[in-house]
């Protein structure tokens, strides 16, 4: 997997789900199945969907944040699809071949697809889209980042495209299945970037008709749609006439709007609303854990005090995460103890308890590390310096996540850490992170492969990476042995070999105490009983309303 900057770690769960993980995701999915199986799907009607964040730009190629892909799933199609078992299936591309050297993909395309602006879908469109994603001016930090190996596309004929890569990249088809790499109308793409942001054009089941900024995005059915993904429950045009995609940032307000019947579906169901939502007979839930690197605080090993492994372990053992999950997350979130979320391929449960809360051991470790002094307030000191941990906190961090860190602050204080949660607006915090000016960085990484370990811990990602960003190895961890393991894992396709290598990688990461991991990221929808057949598109586990219908 190519390096990729985090989607802004807004802790309202953002979703990154990949192919291999889907299998596990479905089993881990706690799904309150929709009642009304007896009903037959009806056509027509409007569904009101409320989400927490507004996309900055509706074109998912630009930047590439989770809200964009949620919306993109409704109006864009992808070249290929992915099913729940992680198999790649044809979608806009009917079939494809891969050259022996793994560097050229020959795609054969459907002939009957038209974008909603009337432009026909051709090999030219494929080239225009891929070129657009990697164009620096697009400022793509996700789609462009995923296909860093992209060299160019040859249009063989109108419906055959040859895509060339600079180096072999086995995950290419999987990333193509993601909504971030959805195919847009080349005519629309030719417009200036900021214009395309306002009303991009795709070939999907819905088309964007209006965007009232900070209020809602209105989509209407694409009546010509005949090319739904193979993962869908039906064929032909979407069942809904219209989607009102509302922006309601306040979690409590969003949930209240659902309860009041103002909206039909909300995503990012806040933990505090989960119990009332379960008790409410008019609602059902659609929950799924997501694979990748769980929600965490990554320790900066490049400067004191966390350049000392003993202090890192002491900090991990000072943080009472379970207490926080019991209080502010109301037991709805499970603990993630190791570097990978349980739904990630090649996940090993061996690390779940590698750094459990153990204040006594923490104190002993601090003693060993020479932090033996005490200030009047009980903060450990060494050589006169107090044991201070700086944690920049973005203004957009959710209340629950913020509380979790306040509780870590309080428990770590008991063992002698002076944890400073430093509020800042998102931009300021990002700047600090770019300059390694933190001891703990709060974030997460959702993706569908254990290759995430390479992105977040290998020395290749110490430097600035991606179009926009800075280093992605937030720990500043650098270990040649680890680098070798994760690089080897990328080259082989043998599952057993990969499992062994990723176990090794997890071991090294865990033994170095690089992260305070808290809970896995998850998709959490709450839906009215009037809404049926809302799916999570397996490629990224984002909402798909193509099959959905409403009973009024």
């Amino acid at each position: 997997m190519p390096p990729q900057p985090h989607p802004i770690p807004h802790a309202r769960p953002a979703l990154w789900l990949g192919a291999a993980a889907l299998l596990l995701a479905m089993t881990g999915c706690r799904r309150h199945e929709s009642h009304a199986a007896a009903h037959t799907p009806t056509r027509g009607g409007t569904l009101v969907y409320a989400t927490d964040r507004e996309p900055i730009c509706l074109d998912p190629h630009v930047q590439g944040d989770m809200p964009q892909v949620f919306l993109a799933q409704q109006y864009l199609d992808s070249l290929v699809a992915m099913d729940g078992a992680g198999h790649i299936l044809p979608w806009l591309a009917t079939d494809w071949t891969v050259s022996d050297d793994g560097r050229t993909y020959l795609f054969h395309l459907r002939h009957d697809v038209t974008f909603t602006d009337g432009t026909p879908f051709t090999a030219e469109a494929v080239r225009a889209n891929l070129d657009h994603m990697v164009d620096p001016h697009t400022q793509s930090s996700t789609a462009g980042g995923y296909i860093r190996q992209y060299a160019g596309t040859d249009v063989i004929d109108a419906y055959t495209a040859a895509v060339h890569l600079k180096t072999p990249y086995a995950a290419f088809l999987e990333v193509l299945a993601q909504g971030f790499l959805g195919i847009e109308s080349p005519r629309a793409l030719a417009r200036p970037r900021d214009e395309n942001c306002q009303n991009p054009v795709g070939s999907g089941p819905f088309r964007i008709v209006r965007w009232d900024h900070q209020s809602q995005i209105v989509l209407e059915r694409n009546p010509a749609y005949r090319w739904g993904p193979p993962t869908a429950l039906h064929t032909g045009p979407a069942r809904l006439d219209r989607i009102e995609w509302r922006i309601i940032p306040e979690p409590s307000v969003r949930f209240a709007a659902l309860q009041a019947g103002e909206v039909d579906v909300i995503d990012s169901l806040p933990p505090e609303a989960e119990t009332p939502a379960r008790r409410n007979p008019d609602l059902w839930l659609l929950l799924a854990d997501r694979p990748g690197n769980p929600t965490n605080g990554t320790l900066n090993t490049r400067r004191a005090p966390f350049d000392d492994i003993r202090v890192r372990e002491a900090f991990l053992r000072s943080a009472d995460i379970d207490g926080a999950l019991a209080s502010v997350f109301f037991h709805h979130y499970r603990r993630a103890g190791g570097p990978l979320s349980p739904t990630t391929p090649f996940y090993s449960p061996a690390f779940e308890h590698h750094a459990d809360y153990d204040p006594d051991r923490a104190r002993a470790l601090l003693d060993q590390a020479g932090w033996t002094g005490r200030t009047a307030q009980g903060i450990r000191t060494r050589g006169g310096h107090p044991l201070v941990v700086h944690i920049p906190v973005k203004a957009s961090l959710s209340a629950a996540e913020r509380t979790l860190w306040e509780q870590v602050q309080a428990t770590a204080r008991a063992t002698g850490f002076d944890v400073r949660l430093e509020n800042g607006d998102d931009t300021t915090v990002q700047e600090r992170e770019g300059q390694w000016d933190y001891d703990v960085r709060i974030g997460y990484w959702n993706t569908n492969t254990a290759d995430v370990l390479r992105i977040i811990f290998s020395s290749a990602f110490l430097g600035a990476a991606g179009v926009a960003g800075h280093h992605q190895n937030e720990a500043g961890f650098s270990d040649p042995a680890f680098d070798r393991v994760v690089d080897d894992a990328l080259l082989t396709t043998d599952p057993d070999r990969r499992r062994a290598l990723y176990l090794q990688a997890q071991t090294i990461a865990a033994r170095n105490f690089l992260q305070v991991t808290t809970y896995p990221q998850s998709t959490r929808l709450a839906l009215s009983r009037a809404v049926h057949d809302v799916r999570l598109e397996p490629s990224l586990n984002v909402t798909s309303l193509y099959d959905s219908w409403v009973t009024r």
């Binding site: 409590s252 505090e272 207490g323 906190v393 959710s398 309080a410 949660l421 509020n423 607006d425």
Partner: protein, 288 residues
């Protein structure tokens, strides 16, 4: 520009005829509450034994009870203790901002009132200009420029609310400057310095006690508003606006998290208003 000179000030300008809204009980209660606030700010431990920072996740979201009169928050911290300990931060912000604001107001008013015609017109314009920037808008601009934190916060609110106070003090300086007793002092042959020192300054700034008292309440509200927007004190400090802001996410489950910090803000505001009016009556009872 006439509107401004006619408009009453945004900041509860001391007024002669405000009726004693809450009778005689009001001022007594107000001063009592302010005294409690002062104790809370200086020696919070006298009022509560609970630690405002001690978390107890398993005691989270407890409704008000005998053990926790104001309930507990999402980390099981005692809200009463946090409200009491929050007084210091809130009052320091409010006090700092009002000091800055009145400082600006005083300097501008003196320059405008005593610096000749050009200075007078200049200050009039400046007041008009300052009024065009609502406190919170200016505060946000300050934050965008200076970053967030306590000092920018104080600067933002101090500068933002300066317009109202400047106009008030300026008006006072002008009216004193043109007052009969100043003329009488000139007619007695007293020099300008003596007149400024003995008449203009004391009379122009006498109402400032009232203004400052009422202003503290207003700036506490403003700083709470900015804290509410996430631009205030860092955790775990108990600051009313921050507590309120955190509480709003849990309003459906734990109304007390939002209600009590807000109540503290409202009572501070009300007490300073009522106490200010009482002070004003006391001052005016002495003078004409």
């Amino acid at each position: 520009m006439t509107t401004l000179s006619l408009a009453p000030s945004m900041t509860r300008q001391p007024s002669r005829r405000l009726r004693p809204a809450l009778g005689h009980l009001g001022p007594a209660a107000a001063f009592l509450f302010l005294a409690l606030l002062a104790v809370a700010a200086l020696a919070p431990h006298l009022l509560t034994h609970a630690d405002p920072l001690a978390i107890a996740p398993r005691d989270a979201f407890h409704a008000p009870s005998a053990a926790h009169p104001f309930g507990t928050d999402q980390s099981g911290r005692d809200i009463l203790a946090r409200v009491i300990h929050g007084a210091r931060q809130s009052l320091a912000l409010g006090g700092g901002a009002i000091t800055l604001s009145l400082g600006i107001a005083t300097i501008l008013a003196l320059v405008g009132g005593l610096g000749g015609r050009i200075a007078e017109q200049g200050v009039r314009w400046l007041i008009d200009i300052l009024f065009a920037f609502p406190v919170l808008v200016l505060a946000l601009l300050c934050t965008a420029t200076l970053g967030s934190g306590i000092v920018p916060l104080i600067v933002a609110i101090g500068v933002g609310s300066a317009a109202g106070y400047t106009r008030m003090v300026f008006g006072q300086v002008l009216s004193v400057r043109d007052a009969g007793y100043v003329e009488a002092a000139r007619a007695l042959g007293h020099g300008p310095l003596r007149i400024v020192a003995r008449h203009i300054l004391p009379n122009a700034f006498r109402p400032l006690v009232v203004t400052a008292t009422m202003g503290v309440g207003q700036t506490v509200v403003w700083s709470a508003a900015l804290s509410f927007l996430g631009l205030g004190a860092p955790p775990p400090a108990a600051e009313w606006g921050t507590m309120l802001s955190m509480g709003r996410d849990f309003i459906a489950e734990a109304w007390w998290m939002t209600f009590f910090p807000g109540l503290a803000i409202v009572l501070t505001m009300l007490s300073t208003t009522i106490a200010g009016r009482a002070l004003q009556r006391a001052i005016e009872g002495r003078g004409p």
